[in-house]
């Protein structure tokens, strides 16, 4: 009985010791939203693309009066790490009630990057050095004054908790 106890104890101790050795994997993929890593990068506004229902893409950021369109807001990740955006908050939208410019988003919106369709799943990252866009539907009404710039500001919050301020304007023809 004594030998049985000693043998079993040695076996358990040895196996437990060897089992605890070796590398334990951690979630450190920089493209993993749940990874416990600190990403280092800067984000900058690049340009706007207006895709209206009636016309082809207008890269000049021009928007007509009385139009339904999609604004592709292009952002560049200056690296060196990938940027993973979680949600955005509008900090300033031109007075939509009076000027006829409407964005059907709340003040807190989920960010999905433009390459989502190509990838087949919701992409919330911008690779280092890459430019990708956030698509936003907009609508203008007839009482919107032409020949003006409509300013929009919003903050993008990433999975590291950092906030990136983006401000731009759309010209109304």
């Amino acid at each position: 009985m004594k030998t049985l106890t000693i043998s079993t104890s040695i076996l358990i101790l040895l196996s437990a010791g060897f089992s605890s050795c070796g590398k334990k994997y951690e979630r450190v993929n920089y493209y993993d939203p749940t990874a416990q890593v600190e990403r280092n990068y800067t984000l900058s506004f690049d340009h706007i693309e207006v895709v209206s229902e009636s016309e082809t893409a207008n890269i000049n950021g021009l928007l007509d009066v009385t139009e339904k369109a999609v604004l592709n807001i292009y952002l560049k990740n200056n690296g060196p790490d990938p940027c993973l955006l979680e949600y955005g908050n509008f900090t300033y939208v031109a007075n939509t009630a009076s000027n006829g410019f409407y964005i059907p988003y709340g003040y807190n919106f989920t960010v999905e990057m433009g390459s989502s369709d190509a990838e087949g799943y919701s992409v919330q990252y911008i690779a280092p050095g890459a430019i990708d866009y956030i698509a936003m539907s907009v609508r203008t009404y007839s009482y919107l004054d032409p020949n003006q710039d409509v300013e929009l500001d919003f903050d993008l919050v990433d999975y590291d908790g950092q906030t990136h301020h983006v401000d731009f304007s759309v010209h109304i023809e």
């Binding site: 009985m1 030998t3 049985l4 043998s7 079993t8 040695i10 076996l11 040895l14 196996s15 437990a16 010791g17 060897f18 089992s19 605890s20 050795c21 070796g22 590398k23 334990k24 994997y25 979630r27 450190v28 993929n29 493209y31 993993d32 939203p33 990838e119 799943y121 919701s122 992409v123 990252y125």
Partner: protein
Amino acid sequence: MKLKLMTLFLLSISFANSWANFTEEKSLIKLSPNPSLHLNLAQSDDLGGGKSHTVTSLILPGVGLWRVTKMPATLVFLPLCYGMVGFGTINIIKGKVEYNNYMAEKNPIEQGTYYDNAIKKNENGRRILGFGVAFWIIQAGWTYIYGSYNDIYRTRNSSWKDKITLHSGGYDPISKSFSLSTSINF
């Protein structure tokens, strides 16, 4: 898990029994069965190999132990140790491959699948490998202990033979007398 514990339990009982029998003082004299009882000194062939077979056990688990204990059942360690170490290593390698897939994946859903697989295979692999290595070391230790006792008994027998010589002996059931012819060197 239950199967592992059962296997461990049976192996431990088997070796505990053999160990208990082995550690009893070995008789230097054997009695041959009736009708003619003849006495013979135990020969060195009756003992298994020495502790040098530990090297054999380290290379081929169970083989060295079989040579020192003369128990064929100990050969079970050969497939057991190699199997557990091999299977554990394969699982660890598969876990590493899954982790590399996780690191290269950008789809959050696929990331989760790869990561979970990596953790599962890595933990299972290390657990199985740990048991395999533990069995490997323990059977080598048993080989060393058995072999050491064999060496001790063999030396003792040899030493006794230098001093005591048993020429002949036996029991005659007809005359119901016992005879023993020995010589002792001082």
